[in-house]
């Protein structure tokens, strides 16, 4: 690898050093290349073979993908993902923005409130799923609590309801992530220039108008950051499904990641599992690649 040191370090003396720092990067580079990208290609290859119980080298073209998209279960997992992702993105964005604006009103005890809103982010999704599985339990859970409070006929059996099970995932996931979205928006709100606000106030803008005209338009980058986290997180959702519904009842709340895991590791259909992983990869790359490209170009310009 030809190397040139940056302007800062380029000096004759530097060249005399026996150390070649860039060589230190090589082991990490090699490992990263193999474990991230090599394995990615390997999965791609598996998805083009007849691999089932054991990996096979028999090339079958797009057969596994044809099987995948002929599988009702996979199609339902995709449809579920679309429903789940829409809500998992829209609700935290709305709620997070609302909470951030409320918290931005010179609130006493803001620190404490922020601590409470954000603490779910410290928890494992397995913990979150475990707690909500009991909170939403049709017999025990919140439903029972409300019945005891006097709402005798109250029922909440979404966990057992094929139509509604997916929404239990939304409830728990929204609970987990909203505090984070709020923190992102709050950071954005705090970054608004005070002088701009002052000028707007002098012009007679206040309250709602001030927010709508001056503050909200500056939150584009915050929105972008939040989406950049929410979208891939939705596509990759797995832990929560395992802990809360296990994809059930039936396959009513199955998402692509769970499908992939079950095919590859429980049903011994490696090729099919690999194909579903590659579809998930395409979805994530459609977000990550444009972003990385833009970041790299901005970096080069700077």
């Amino acid at each position: 690898m030809t190397t040139t040191t940056s302007a800062a370090l380029a000096s004759p003396r530097w060249q005399r050093y026996r150390e070649r720092p860039e060589l230190l990067l090589l082991p990490s580079l090699a490992l990263g290349l193999i474990f991230f990208y090599g394995f990615m290609l390997w999965t791609g290859w598996l998805s083009l073979t007849r691999s089932s119980l054991l990996p096979s080298d028999e090339f079958v073209g797009l057969l596994q993908y044809q099987r995948l998209f002929a599988d009702e279960r996979w199609l339902q997992a995709l449809a579920n993902l679309a429903r789940f992702a829409g809500l998992f993105i829209a609700i935290p964005l709305a709620l997070g923005l609302g909470l951030a604006i409320l918290l931005d009103q010179k609130i006493r005890g803001e620190g404490g409130l922020r601590l409470i809103y954000l603490h779910p982010m410290a928890l494992s999704l397995i913990v979150t799923g475990t707690v909500w599985r009991w909170l939403l339990d049709p017999e025990l859970g919140l439903a029972q609590g409300l019945r005891q409070l006097g709402f005798a006929g109250f029922r909440l059996d979404w966990l057992a309801d094929e139509e509604m099970a997916l929404y239990t995932l939304v409830i728990a996931a929204v609970w987990q992530i909203t505090g984070f979205v709020m923190a992102v928006f709050l950071a954005g709100l705090r970054a608004v220039d005070d002088a701009v606000l002052q000028a707007a106030r002098l012009d007679g803008a206040s309250g709602f108008t001030l927010y709508r005209r001056i503050v909200l338009p500056t939150l584009g980058p915050s929105l972008f950051s939040a989406l950049l986290v929410l979208l891939p997180a939705a596509i990759k959702s797995f832990d929560l499904v395992v802990a809360l519904t296990d994809g059930g009842p039936g396959q009513a709340s199955e998402l692509p990641a769970l499908y992939m895991f079950q095919m590859a590791f429980e049903r011994s259909r490696l090729g099919l599992g690999a194909a579903s992983a590659m579809v998930m990869l395409m979805m994530v790359l459609s977000i990550a690649l444009p972003y990385a490209y833009a970041r790299a170009r901005r970096g080069a310009a700077a």
Binding site: G32, G38, L118, G141, T178, M260
Partner: protein, 272 residues
């Protein structure tokens, strides 16, 4: 005006209740006895708080709690030191293709684990490596390589004069890195260590696939406890104690260093 303030506070308090509910609920029910479960007042405070559920939870998950510690401490230490070194090299040296390394790391940050899980499992089986904590530690360190981006972003802000001055004094690369760069990296270290500890402690899938019963980390053990508890006795006091046990270390970190935690999350999202 007064009314408006009251409304704002009421809304904020309502949401505080909503966010705090599951935690309070875990705590409440983890202190109930088996007898009290049968009477079944799910939302009530325990009448005679006792620790039997906690004892049962520790019996079931104590081993995996220690496994998670034995996993998280080395992974966090190794991966953040490696990330600091790589981040510094990436930032202060421009070599041909360095922007590709940057893009490669950035994209790697997004890749779903599912994309490399199968080849990983196949290679480990081919190499004859048994499932163990050691293997899991190595896997986590490798897949934490993109952490270098955090440090790289921090080092971009380093004044070049500082490094040049140190070099004038004859400092070699290691001296430069160990004596100047690392001590100035404390703020990033705090953020990265907290973020990485939380990530590794909470990680589930690798922990499930690459360990066996004795080496299970706590997330995998907790998920299993929930799955087996389904049919028979529904000991949710034990399950709530177990869930809280799994949550305690990261919650403690969050309470002690909440500010850095938030900063890390936000910075992580913004800077990639």
């Amino acid at each position: 005006m007064m009314l408006r303030r009251t409304l704002i506070y009421a809304l904020l308090a309502l949401f505080a209740l909503y966010f705090a509910l599951p935690l309070g609920f875990m705590l409440m029910n983890s202190l109930k006895s088996a007898a009290e479960l049968r009477e079944g007042a799910f939302l009530a405070w325990p009448r005679a708080p006792e620790l039997s559920a906690w004892r049962a939870a520790w019996d079931a998950l104590g081993g995996s709690f220690l496994n998670s510690l034995l996993l998280a401490v080395p992974v966090v230490t190794l991966s953040s030191l490696l990330a600091a070194l790589n981040g510094f090299i990436l930032c202060k040296l421009r070599f041909r293709g360095s922007e590709w390394v940057f893009i490669g790391l950035l994209v790697a940050l997004f890749l779903p684990i599912k994309v490399y899980l199968l080849p990983l499992a196949i290679s480990l089986a081919k190499l004859g490596l048994s499932k163990s904590l050691g293997v899991l530690i190595a896997i986590h360190v490798i897949y934490s390589l993109p952490l270098a981006l955090f440090f790289r972003n921090h080092y971009l802000g380093f004044p070049d004069e500082l490094l040049r001055a140190a070099r004038m004094d004859g400092a070699g690369f290691w001296a430069l890195f160990l004596r100047i760069v690392l001590p100035l990296s404390k703020p990033v270290f705090v953020v990265v260590v907290i973020l990485q500890f939380t990530t590794i402690w909470n990680e589930y899938l690798f922990g499930l696939v690459f360990t066996e019963a004795e080496s299970r980390p706590i997330t995998a053990a907790l998920a299993q406890l929930g799955a087996t508890g389904e049919g028979g006795v529904r000991d949710y006091n034990v399950e709530m104690a177990a869930a809280l046990l799994a949550a305690l270390p990261t919650l403690a970190v969050y309470l002690i260093a909440g500010k850095h935690f938030t900063r890390g999350l936000v910075a992580g999202a913004v800077k990639g």
